[in-house]
Amino acid sequence: MALDLNMSQFHDIFFEESIENLEVMEANLLSLDIARPEPEVINTVFRAAHSIKGGAGTFGFSDIADFTHVVETCFDEVREQKRALTRLMVDAVLESVDCLRYMIAQSKSGQDIDKDKVAGIRQKLIALPAATQSEATQQPTPSWHIYFHPHDYFLKTGNDPYRLFRELAELGEMQISGQLDRLPPLQGMDPELCYLSWHIQFSADVARGDIEEMFEWVDEDCELHIELGGERRQHADRRAGGRTGGRRADDMQLPTSAASGGQLPGQESNSIRVNTEKVDNLVNLVGELVITVSMLSRFASTNRRPVDREKLKQSVEQLERNTRDLQEQTLNIRMLPIDFVFQRLPRLVHDLSRSLGKQVELKLSGNATEIDKTVLEKIGDPLVHLIRNALDHGIETPAEREAAGKEKVGVIALESYHEGGNIVVQIRDDGAGIDPEAIRRKAIEKDLINVSDELTESQIHNLIFLPGFSTANEISGVSGRGVGADVVRSNIVELGGNVKVASQKGIGTTFSLYLPLTLAIMDGQLIRVGEDIFVISLLSIIESTQIDSSLVSAVAGKYEVYRYRDGYIPVIRLHEVFGVQGANTALDDGLLVIMDAGRRIGLLVDDILGQQQVVIKSLRTNFRQIESLAGATILGDGTVAMIIDLPGLLEFWLAENESANTPSAAAEIST
């Protein structure tokens, strides 16, 4: 009669849940103050382990369940103060978290788990020196005193005191004495009400939590006091650091509801899981709607009958408003707090600084800044690389720092915030900084610049982004791995973003990542070059101006710069770069759109048209990526317009100019 129960359908949910729980464990472990662990944090770690174990057991991953059991036990003992928390233990449990991630990954892909590897880590956990365990084992079986006073309606909840006692009895020895004083005379008694209360002397090697769990369901239906006998005060005093009384300390021991969800306090969010594909479809659909609306809007403005036109216009305006709201909301679904990436980093810093023998404090801020999921997914690796780099090459050893008159503990600060239409993520360290001379030598060695090239310090710093340039003298195993700053840069640029570096020798280095808020849509400014219409990012525009050709001068007989405020900016003639026929070539007849493309540039265009939100469509879907273009979009009249990618355009223009004999590529790369 056994039912064929296909449990595999639940597996994905279990894996997802477990991975989340592991993240919770990791974050909480890293936030633990070893000397004074907060009970809530210990509890949260315990509960996360507990739910992984439960799930693993349910779905038949017995090796995961067994392994997690060891972790759970370990923290349960800490929770019950049977052993003290040690650095060694936290490290071992962190290692176990990794091991569990591995086990889950293997199980998910249906691959075998390396049993020796698992056994090794398991052994490490079991063999942890039990700091206060000897103390605990010497102690006699704890004796609890429980006072249980059910409210009179107690029986109507379907609960029964007898069943509770039966359960308690399974855990240890107990003596029960009933309080009959509230029992009314027989004739006045309502047999459906409960008049009794009980004092229970209970000897069992259990934790308070175990007893509380027994009464979990009736928590609100009774008065309940649980007190530990002889050792109570001693424990309590130790817990509270001797400052407060036992009662207070007991309160701290109660599991809080914030921790019970297996989440970090304050992290409980009203979130739902949504399949990304569904969201993408929705985003596309809304994009289509936007196009339809703008077509309709065009029709409305050209319709000949005035009465109809007014009505149509009104309804179109309404539709436009609604559509914009809908679009905003829809795009919002894709936005996630950058904390999803940030939360990986404390662990990285923790592990790396230990293996490098450095002392580092990681400061995170702006964790709640929201960013498109796709962008978020793609900045993980670059961020990890930059953090590794800061730890490996930036932050000095404690001895070096002391010698330099700095605090022994280095600081890596990670911050994210909105700036213009971008999200900026800044990685700042107070380490040794970039040595311009060393970079210069290296660049000459690698033939990236000529000995005679005169570069500003900022230009030299930016050399590290050139392909093949690696700042480390030797591959250190930390930031080595064949990934250089050039890969970080190209990853970010691919997202439509940009990277800047600023550094001062001996003071520190700051990397700033400029990232688009979303990849799906942008506020566009339409511009005309000849007969062609292009879209540029409205948010990158500083200003547009009629050109005073007397402020334009030619450099090296080839490219032009325009005197703008207190400096010179390159003039990019779009008709030249894009080979557009029939465009204005006289500077005085055109307009210069001054933009921030990581550095200031001026775009020479024929005309500036309207502004509109555009849905970015990739050219790669049916064609391929074109350098200098971010994609294409469909305008209100159904025609296609190209969207210009500013950093790409600048790079392309620089490359074109390089072939037209400018000194060197490096000289052009500057912030």
Partner: protein
């Protein structure tokens, strides 16, 4: 008389077929008799005509949700003291309390392994 004792009957209410099967499978394996209902309406109809030793119900269900079902059951004279457990998720603290307020005996936290399920059920039988 050699008739075996009548097995304890449990009324299981959940709109999710997979959940129902999983719980039911576990309970049957432990020799309980299980009657499955897909929603509150169905469950209430069954409860009115039959005696059960325990009701295990999901909270979110179409037609009649678990909270309403519990309230309705408690109105029936032979269900005033019957243990009723809700199936709830660990984080849904308010659901547990809502269930309790409606008259539930306790709750079973999803997800659970068969052992935990049986252990919890034995607490009230």
């Amino acid at each position: 008389m050699t008739e075996t004792p009548k097995p304890t009957r449990i009324l299981l209410v959940d709109d999710s077929a997979s959940m129902r099967e999983m719980v039911s499978f576990t309970l049957k394996a432990a020799h309980y008799e299980v009657h499955e209902s897909m929603d509150g309406v169905d469950a209430l109809a069954f409860a009115q005509d039959n005696d059960v030793a325990l009701v295990v119900t999901d909270i979110n269900m179409p037609n009649m949700d678990g909270i309403t079902l519990i309230k309705e059951l408690r109105q029936l004279s032979n269900y005033r003291f019957t243990p009723i457990l809700t199936l709830t998720t660990e984080s849904a603290d308010d659901k547990k309390q809502q269930g309790k307020a409606a008259g539930a005996t306790g709750w079973i936290v999803k997800p659970f392994d068969p052992d935990t399920l049986l252990k919890t059920i034995r607490r009230v039988l």
